[in-house]
């Protein structure tokens, strides 16, 4: 469904992605883990052409994203929902107006229909009573959930999550994990999650890829991932107190 073919990207004189090859399958939750600065967010931004590769191609369902022109790019982007690390809600709009914004700007739906749908999506992410509030009035976790409501209101096929649990307490993090998992189970969306939180990755991922020095050094299902023999993967696991003996299963509720 989404394929990276030898994608290389230089930023600030540093090779962030180095001939990256990666494939994400329809309907799965693919989690990209790695240390800070490993290129996880850069990888995500290539999928919707917020960044373009210096060489190589990003292909979404047979279409080369970096070669698309205005209208074609818009059509591809309409298939994506994107949850930014900060939520990226517009500060001067109410939460409800933020959630309904894509529909208000791109469809002929009436205000009443849009408000109704916005209420539904906010309720789906557990924020039924914040419609009139401003983003500044919400906590970090609530802002991310509101942003998720905005990301799903257009019923995208693919949702990209950029560090969805960073800066959140463990309880809120697990609530976000459950929401991501629900998106796959109930709405059937393909999800790509970028995180350095391995507990989260193991809980929600159908496959996990470890990005290191601009390349995927391991791609495996969660139980195989924790048993990986790749040294940087083992170091990364141990740094988060996860061992190949399966202690993560006790630590994370699937």
């Amino acid at each position: 469904m989404i394929r990276f073919e030898k994608v290389t990207k230089m930023l600030g004189g540093k090779r962030v992605l180095d001939a990256l090859d990666m494939e994400i399958r329809k309907g799965e939750t693919f989690v990209i883990v790695g240390t800070s600065g490993a290129g996880k967010s850069v990888t995500l931004k290539h999928m919707v052409r917020l960044l373009s590769p210096d060489s190589g191609r990003v292909v979404v369902d047979g279409e080369v994203v970096s070669e698309l022109s205005g209208g074609e790019l818009e059509r591809i982007r309409d298939r994506f929902g994107y949850l930014f690390q900060s939520g990226a809600l517009l500060q001067w709009l109410s939460v409800g107006d933020n959630v309904g914004l894509p529909l208000r700007e791109k469809t002929d739906m009436s205000d009443e229909e849009i408000d109704q749908l916005s209420h539904e999506k906010l309720a789906l992410v557990g924020l039924a009573d914040v419609f009139e509030k401003r983003p500044d009035d919400l906590s970090g976790g609530m802002r991310k959930r509101a942003a998720l409501a905005r990301a799903i209101i257009t019923k995208p096929d693919i949702i990209l999550y950029d560090e969805p649990t960073s800066g959140l307490d463990p309880v809120t993090s697990r609530a976000i994990d459950r929401l991501i998992d629900d998106m796959r189970r109930e709405l059937g969306v393909t999800s790509v999650v970028v995180t350095h939180d391995l507990h989260s990755a193991l809980a929600i991922g159908t496959r996990i890829g470890m990005l290191y020095q601009g390349r995927l050094v391991e791609v495996a299902e969660p139980d195989a991932f924790v048993k990986s023999k790749v040294k940087v993967v083992q170091d990364f696991l141990e740094a988060q107190y996860i061992t190949k003996h399966g202690s993560w299963e006790r630590m994370v509720a699937k």
Binding site: L50, R77, F84, Q85, A88, L89, L90, P102, E105
Partner: protein, 235 residues
């Protein structure tokens, strides 16, 4: 950016865009009125005092009405208005869009296929290109009134003589050229501010830099464009 913005002009008829444009008109116009009032009044008073004192040496102080009115309409009205709007509204636009850029709100709009030029630039462009000329007319009127007060209280020029002189020698062309300049200045301020805002990097430091650059670049561009327009119309 300007060409792209004009392509989106029909979108201005949409309800949300109309609301946003009205809000920007309010921000630009009403919120700037206080400072513009003070600056315009004192600009006219200083002009009247300086020219009046010189003209009095030749017994011509009665002509300050013409001097103040012509200078306000041709140059000082649009120029002072544009400087105030660049420093207050232009810097605010750059700071807002800069903050939106570094907090990924602009990227979020792009992914939602909402064109930031249509969504953010157009309402501001329309508001400033309409409101700067309107505020210029207001500045001109207050400047002329300020000059009349100084002429009457300090130079002994009667109000009748002042306004008779002011209306006799000032031409429609002076007003139209001044308003044309104001229109161009409104566009310049918006484009500079939006460009700086969208180009912001490096967080809060970058927002500060974008704001400062907006004011400096707008001031310099206004000066140069002001001279070019004057040169074109007054040979």
């Amino acid at each position: 950016m300007l060409g792209e913005a004009f392509l989106f002009l029909p979108h201005m008829l949409k309800k949300r865009m109309r609301h946003e444009t009205l809000y920007q008109l309010f921000l630009t116009g009403i919120k700037s009125l206080g400072v513009i009032t003070v600056v315009a009044m004192f600009t006219g008073m200083i002009l009247a005092l300086q020219t009046g004192l010189e003209l009095r040496r030749f017994g011509q102080e009665v002509n300050i009405g013409t001097a103040v009115t012509v200078v306000m309409m041709r140059e000082m009205g649009p120029f002072m208005t544009a400087l105030i709007i660049a420093a207050s509204v232009g810097s605010a636009i750059a700071a807002q869009l800069g903050t939106m850029t570094v907090s990924e709100e602009i990227a979020a709009l792009e992914i939602m296929s909402i064109n930031p030029v249509r969504f953010l630039v157009m309402p501001r462009l329309v508001a400033l290109s309409v409101m700067v000329p309107i505020l210029t007319v207001y500045t001109n009127i207050l400047g002329v009134v300020g000059g009349a007060i100084v002429g009457y209280t300090q130079l002994g020029v009667s109000l009748t003589a002042y306004f008779d002189n002011a209306t006799r020698y000032a031409e429609n062309k002076d007003l139209y050229v001044g308003l044309f300049k104001a229109f161009l200045f409104g566009i310049i301020i918006t484009l500079v501010a939006c460009h700086q805002g969208f180009s912001t990097t490096e967080g809060a430091v970058g927002v500060g830099r974008a704001t400062r650059r907006t004011v400096i670049i707008s001031f310099l561009t206004i000066l140069v464009v002001g001279y070019i327009v004057t040169r074109l119309f007054y040979k």
